[in-house]
C-alpha cells in the first residue's frame, strides 16, 4: 500500500496505458517519476502509439500536456490522447454461498460413484459435526443436533435425525440415504428442505433423498 501511495505505477490495458497517480503527489514529482519510468522502459515504448488514461490525481490541461511531453521526450512513443478516469470502485465479488461450512464451488466434488469415502462407526451425537471432502457412510445413528456435511453422498446405516448436507460444495447429484430418514434438515447442493411435520413415526423403512428438477425428493429405497 505504501508504495502505491508514494509512487506512480503503469498498467497496460486494452484501452491503453493506465497511469495511477497518487492523489497527494506533487506535480513536479509526477513528471520526474513518469519521465524516469518511461526512460527505464524505453524499449517497450519505442514506436508505440498509445492512449493514456490516468487515475488518482486530477491534472490541469497544462499539466496533462506536460505529462505527454515527459513521455514523448524520453522515448519514441506517440500519445494519441489523454483523459482522466475515476478510480473504479473495487468490484464486490459475490461471496460464494456457504451454508454448511463448505463453500459452494463452480468446480465441485464429482466422485459420487467412486472416490474418497469416510466411514464413521457409532452414534453421532448432538454437537458433533462431520465435515468431509468426499462421501460419508455412518454405521450407527445420527442424532438430532448433529451435523454431517460432505461434498459427496451421505449414507446412514441407522436413524438419521440430525442435519445433513450432501454435495455440500455444489453438487446436486449427490444423494442421502438412511435406514430411517428423519433429519431435522436435509440439504443437497444449494437446496435446503426439511421433513414434513408428522406427529408420529409410522414406518421404519429405508429411504433415499435426491434432487430432481431442483426439488429434493424422498423415495423408498
Amino acid at each position: 500500500m505504501d508504495n502505491e501511495t508514494k509512487s506512480i505505477s503503469f498498467k497496460g490495458t486494452a484501452e491503453g496505458l493506465v497511469i495511477l497517480i497518487p492523489k497527494e503527489m506533487e506535480t513536479g514529482a509526477v513528471m520526474t517519476q513518469v519521465a524516469e519510468k518511461v526512460r527505464a522502459a524505453e524499449k517497450f515504448f519505442r514506436g508505440a502509439k498509445l492512449n493514456v488514461i490516468y487515475r488518482g490525481k486530477k491534472l490541469t490541461g497544462d499539466e496533462e500536456q506536460e505529462l505527454i511531453r515527459a513521455m514523448t521526450e524520453n522515448s519514441s512513443v506517440t500519445i494519441e490522447g489523454i483523459r482522466y478516469e475515476e478510480t473504479p470502485k473495487p468490484v464486490e465479488r459475490e461471496k460464494s454461498a456457504n451454508i454448511s461450512g463448505m463453500p459452494i464451488r463452480r468446480i465441485f466434488f464429482k466422485e459420487l460413484e467412486e472416490g474418497p469415502c469416510k466411514f464413521v462407526r457409532g452414534t453421532i451425537r448432538s454437537g458433533t459435526r462431520i465435515l468431509y471432502e468426499g462421501n460419508v457412510v455412518v454405521i450407527g445413528d445420527a442424532n438430532p443436533g448433529s451435523e454431517i456435511v460432505a461434498s459427496g453422498n451421505i449414507v446412514v446405516f441407522g436413524a438419521l435425525r440430525g442435519m445433513v448436507h450432501a454435495g455440500a460444495d455444489g453438487n446436486r447429484d449427490a444423494i442421502i440415504a438412511a435406514l430411517k430418514l428423519a433429519p431435522t434438515q436435509l440439504r443437497i447442493g444449494d437446496i435446503i428442505t426439511r421433513c414434513p411435520d408428522t406427529s408420529e413415526e409410522i414406518e421404519f423403512l429405508p429411504e433415499i433423498a435426491l434432487v430432481k428438477d431442483g426439488i429434493i425428493y424422498v423415495e423408498p429405497l
Binding site: S126, P144, G145
Partner: protein, 266 residues
C-alpha cells in the same frame, strides 16, 4: 480401590444433585464407604439436600489449594454410617479448580472409599470438565423432555471423547400417566436416541421435593416410590441385576394398536 462416578446431565434442573444425594445415601445404607463431592463451585447445594449445610468448615477449594487436609474438609453424615460429603466452595468460581487437581483428589479418595460420587454442575464448561476429569464411570441424568434429552446426548458425546465409555442413563421425573397418553416421551424413545444402558427410571414424586427441602434423602424412606426406584438404582450401580419397577402397568391392546397405526391417543 474405589470407583469414581460422576453424575451429570448437561441441562440444569433435571435432578443431578438429588440423584447424587440419594445414590450416595443408598450406597451407604448398603454398608459402603461413600464420599459425595459437590463440584458445583459457586452454586453449591448438595450440602443443603443432604442437610449438612451448617457443618461446613472447609471445602473442595481449600483441599485442592492445600489450606486443609482432605480429612478436615470431609463432613461425616451422622445418620448414615460411612457417608461423607466434600462440599463445594460458595465464594469462588469454577476456575478455582483444575482438572489435574480433581484427578489427584479423586485418586487420593479412591484409596479410602468404595464409591466417590461427583455431583457435576450444569453446562459443559470448566466446571463440567473438572467434574469428569477423575471419573471412571458416569450416570447421565435426563428427564423425558426433548431439551434434556438433547443435552444428555451432547454430554454423552463429550464423555465418550474423554474416554468415559461406561455411561449409564437415569431417566428422572417420568409420569407414567402422561407417557400413556402420548404426551410425554417414553423410556423407549429416549433410549432409542441416546443408545446407552439404562440404569433406572425414577417416577415424578412430590415426596422428593419434600424430602429434598428437609435435607433427608428419599432413598431412606420405605414408602416413597421414588425412594424405591433409587434403592434399585443403587443396587444396579453395585452391579446387581434388578428388574425395572413397572411404572405404567401394561399397555392395553387398544393403545398398542393405536400406536402401531400412528394415532395419538386422546
Amino acid at each position: 480401590m474405589g470407583e469414581v462416578i460422576v453424575i451429570t446431565s448437561g441441562k440444569g434442573g433435571v435432578g443431578k444433585t438429588t440423584t447424587t444425594a440419594n445414590l450416595g445415601t443408598g450406597l451407604a445404607l448398603k454398608e459402603k464407604k461413600v464420599v459425595l463431592i459437590d463440584a458445583d463451585i459457586g452454586l453449591r447445594n448438595l450440602d443443603l439436600v443432604m442437610g449438612l449445610e451448617n457443618r461446613i468448615v472447609y471445602d473442595l477449594v481449600n483441599v485442592v489449594e492445600g489450606t486443609c487436609r482432605i480429612k478436615q474438609a470431609l463432613i461425616k453424615d451422622k445418620r448414615f454410617e460411612g457417608l461423607f460429603l466434600l462440599p463445594a466452595a460458595q465464594t469462588r468460581d469454577k476456575n478455582a479448580v483444575s482438572p489435574e487437581q480433581m484427578i489427584r483428589l479423586c485418586d487420593d479418595l479412591k484409596e479410602e472409599f468404595d464409591y466417590i460420587l461427583v455431583d457435576c454442575p450444569a453446562g459443559i464448561e470448566q466446571g463440567f470438565k473438572n467434574a469428569i476429569a477423575g471419573a471412571d464411570r458416569a450416570v447421565v441424568v435426563t428427564t423425558p423432555e426433548v431439551s434434556a434429552v438433547r443435552d444428555a446426548d451432547r454430554v454423552i458425546g463429550i464423555l465418550e471423547a474423554n474416554e468415559i465409555r461406561k455411561s449409564m442413563l437415569l431417566i428422572n421425573r417420568v409420569r407414567p400417566d402422561m407417557v400413556k397418553k402420548g404426551d410425554m416421551m417414553s423410556i423407549e424413545d429416549i433410549i432409542d436416541i441416546l443408545a446407552i444402558d439404562l440404569i433406572g427410571v425414577v417416577p415424578d414424586d412430590e415426596n422428593i421435593i419434600i424430602s429434598t427441602n428437609r435435607g433427608e434423602p428419599a432413598v431412606a424412606e420405605a414408602k416413597s416410590l421414588a425412594g424405591q426406584a433409587y434403592r434399585n438404582i443403587t443396587r444396579r450401580l453395585m452391579g446387581e441385576d434388578v428388574p425395572l419397577i413397572n411404572l405404567a402397568g401394561n399397555d392395553s391392546f387398544l393403545s398398542k394398536m393405536k400406536k402401531l397405526l400412528g394415532f395419538k391417543s386422546a
